[in-house]
């Protein structure tokens, strides 16, 4: 009886892994051979809507200047642009720098200095909404350096009245630092260039990532605004909006540089945060997503798989354990097959879009060259991810807490006046 139960569990786990593997194969093939959708990115001339760019900042003295300079250089009509910089309890020179910009550009830059209230990015965004008078908000992290045309590109999808949220592509800029940053560069490429774009092409669920993205204010208000007790406000918002019939859009050509973690401790913390936030969203929206009438069948399937993507890590490990157990209990036929299948397929299905063939395809589409040689080393990134996510997921279940309410941000590595070569 025990063995039968183990076999059934193992079969279910294998089917789940296969489902994700097939999903990522489909995404890859779509990206290579399917019809590519970029319907909004080429809107050149328009009566541009009023936008509010939100820049949450916590101890960002090293990078905030470059970000604000870049935003001020954008070709978006300045009479339709307000930049709200939210300084959340910074202890460095962030406040002073922001006030300097506000003094120089009083009509465009509006600072908000928070000293009380719930800490964290989501809470900061929630508070600044009291001052936003625009129809569209666009969020940038303080270390991002948007290009001249990026604001128009992120605003243009909102001419479609069905669009509630837009996401652009983030590209790592600190790739030269060490092996970790190069591996993360590959991972990000796969996630955006292949995974997100394929979901856009196929009318699935491109995910809003919390930065280099925009939200329609009316849509945000219709779903209750920003929630300040979420670990992943981006994932949470994506699902809340789609449940209400709004669409999530991804624009691959709307690119912006970002910094990725440069050491494993930071990377692990980042993965833990993502995993916890994603699992939180899974718990909140799983049932609603299954029974909602506003989403199509394919959105329903993809959305469910997206919700479960971080939950797959502990499931894969459980699959390994069961397979090995069955092996030593003498059920070698099924165990051998399962071990082999899991070994081959599991790396294709886990984590933050870090799928090997998606990475290969992304590198090809980016017309990058030899960096693809690093692909086998991403296996170690995968192992660390799967263990980290499993650890985080198990702790989350045990503690059953609603996430932290503090800034758990990625450290900044750039010095001021960083010039992109």
């Amino acid at each position: 009886m025990f063995i039968i139960i183990l076999k059934i569990l193992l079969l279910i786990i294998i089917l789940c892994i296969l489902a994700y593997t097939i999903r990522h194969y489909i995404f890859t093939l779509n990206r290579l051979f399917g019809h590519q959708r970029h319907p909004y990115v080429d809107v050149e001339t328009a009566q541009w809507p009023k936008i509010a760019v939100l820049v949450p900042a916590h101890n960002e003295e090293a990078v905030i200047s470059n970000s604000l300079e870049a935003l001020l250089s954008a070709n978006y009509p300045h009479d339709k642009l307000i930049i709200h910089v939210i300084n959340d309890r910074s202890t460095d020179r962030t406040r002073e720098i922001i006030d300097g910009f506000a003094a120089r550009f009083p009509d465009t830059i509006k600072p908000l200095h928070r000293t009380t209230g719930v800490a964290g990015k989501a809470a900061a965004l929630k508070e600044v909404m009291l001052y936003v008078e625009s129809d569209i908000i666009i969020v940038f992290d303080a270390d991002y350096i948007p290009g001249k045309g990026l604001l128009k590109q992120l605003a243009s999808p909102f001419f479609d009245p069905e669009v509630g949220v837009v996401m652009g592509r983030v590209v790592p800029v600190n790739t030269k630092t060490n092996l970790l940053t190069r591996l993360l560069d590959l991972e990000r490429s796969a996630g955006y260039q292949v995974d997100q774009q394929a979901r856009m092409n196929m009318g699935l669920v491109p995910q809003y990532g919390g930065t280099v993205g925009g939200v329609r204010v009316a849509a945000l208000e219709s779903v209750g605004g920003w929630l300040d007790h979420t670990l992943a406000e981006d994932t949470d918002l994506t699902y809340r909006l789609m449940l209400k019939g709004w669409k999530s859009i991804y624009q691959n050509r709307s690119e912006c540089y970002e910094e990725v973690p440069e050491n494993w401790n930071v990377r692990i913390r980042q993965v833990k945060r993502w995993a916890s936030g994603h699992n939180q969203a899974l718990a909140r929206y799983l049932t609603k997503w299954i029974f909602n009438n506003n989403i199509s069948f394919r959105e329903r399937i993809d959305g469910l798989m997206l919700l479960g993507i971080y939950a797959m890590s502990p499931i894969v490990i459980l699959g390994w354990i069961i397979a090995v157990t069955l092996f030593y209990l003498g059920e070698q036929t099924i165990a051998n097959a399962a071990i082999a299948l899991i070994a081959v397929a599991s790396y294709s299905s886990i984590g933050n879009f870090a799928v090997f063939f998606e990475i290969s395809t992304a590198v090809y589409l980016d017309r990058s060259g030899n960096r693809i040689r690093l692909l086998p080393l991403n296996f170690f990134n995968f192992v660390i991810s799967i263990l980290t996510v499993t650890n985080s997921s198990v702790k989350q279940i045990i503690n059953s807490r609603d996430g932290s309410t503090k800034w758990d941000k990625t450290p900044r590595y750039r010095v001021s006046n960083f010039i992109l070569s």
Binding site: E44, K148, F159, D185, Y257
Partner: protein, 370 residues
């Protein structure tokens, strides 16, 4: 351990280690570690190349703009190897014997005054006119920039871009590849083909005010309209957004306030007024005389009937047909029209930008080109 096992272990080890060798090599001696390139100064401007060429002209011929015109035309070679001819007094291009026989010229042509190009010729380098330029018939022009007007005579092809400081006019059977722009307006004759064009006004053929007269003119308005308070098969409604399940048909002469989204096909009945934006997740058919105050978006094909007025933008993921004497945008509200394939009927006009990613055609009234 016997030799067979030893060989097996060695082969297994090799299979595991070999893929790591290029990886370790790239790690220790990086050859491709720069960030993926992003075009930071991308500005989506149709006249981007024209502006770049204008800078090139000023940089290489700056002396031309500051000195008095000379008596004779001038020939030369720039530092980058470009062969050029400056026409100070000539108003017509004279090709050399070789150019005439080969029916092409590779000179950069620079004209001080109004200028006429030779017909039946391919121009492989850019052309600059300080005033206006008229192309010869049956010409292929790589790129052309003028400070005043451009007149493309029939059967002229633009390969990369063209920009007129004031008016660009294309006669019948012109093919306008690449980017076409003008400071005042573009006028295309039936039939023509195009890709990407931008100007304060783009006129396709001849506009007929009579045909464009709207059935909903303010004098008639309120008595003739049926205000719509709700929509059938409504899934969600909050604020201005009305989300409808399935196909949707708005009856003729309706007046609706709000943004309408249909999960499948949508038809807007003739003479209706929509004070908002519309989105169809299938095919969108806008009948004659409809006015839409906002944007119009379709996931499939879109047909805009005659005499419609749409403030825009207009975005179709399928084929777009712009009806006779329809108007997109306005004098004070330029906008964009984007679709993979765009067919325009005689009299349509667009204020702003029109971009047919694959192909754009200006059709005669019969709908057949040529």
């Amino acid at each position: 351990m016997n030799i067979g096992t030893t060989i097996f272990l060695i082969v297994t080890l090799l299979l595991m280690v070999l893929p790591l060798l290029p990886a370790i090599s790239e790690w220790l001696k990086p050859t491709d570690e720069k960030p993926v390139k992003i075009v930071q100064d991308f500005d989506s401007d149709t006249s981007h190349f024209a502006k770049g060429f204008a800078d090139y002209i000023r940089k290489n011929f700056g002396w031309f703009f500051s000195e008095n015109p000379k008596a004779e035309d001038e020939h030369g070679v720039l530092k980058d190897g470009t062969v050029f001819t400056l026409f100070y007094n000539s108003d017509k291009l004279q090709l050399s014997t070789e150019e005439t026989s080969r029916k092409k010229t590779s000179r950069l042509l620079f004209a001080e005054n109004d200028f006429v190009l030779s017909g039946n010729t391919s121009y492989h380098k850019e052309i600059y006119g300080k005033r206006s330029v008229v192309s010869g018939e049956n010409s292929n022009i790589r790129a052309i920039l003028t400070e005043e007007d451009i007149h493309l005579q029939k059967n002229t092809t633009i390969i990369r871009w063209a920009h007129a400081g004031r008016v660009l006019r294309a006669d019948v059977n012109c093919t306008l590849y690449g980017r076409i722009s003008a400071g005042d307006y573009l006028l295309l004759s039936v039939p023509c083909s195009f890709q990407r064009m931008s100007a304060p006004l783009i006129q396709f053929g001849e506009y007929s005010e009579k045909t464009a007269q709207k059935t909903w003119s303010p004098k008639l308005a309120l008595n003739n309209f049926r205000p719509l308070e709700t929509l059938p098969d409504l899934k969600e409604q909050d604020g201005r957004r009305w989300l409808v399940s399935g196909d949707l048909r708005i009856p003729s002469n309706s007046l609706f306030n709000g943004d309408i989204i249909a999960s499948r096909n949508m038809t807007i009945g003739a003479g209706s007024v929509i004070n908002g934006s519309i989105k169809s997740n299938g095919r969108l058919y806008i009948e004659d005389g409809v006015q839409v105050q906002g944007s119009v978006v379709s996931a499939g094909d879109m047909i805009i009937g005659s005499g419609c007025e749409i403030m825009g933008p207009v975005i179709a993921e399928g084929k777009l047909l712009l009806g006779k004497d329809s108007q997109i945008g306005g004098e004070n509200s330029q906008t964009s029209v984007n679709a993979p394939v765009i067919h325009c009927h005689n009299g349509a006009r667009v204020y702003g930008t029109i971009w047919a990613y694959d192909s754009g055609l200006l059709l005669s009234d019969s709908g057949v080109r040529g």
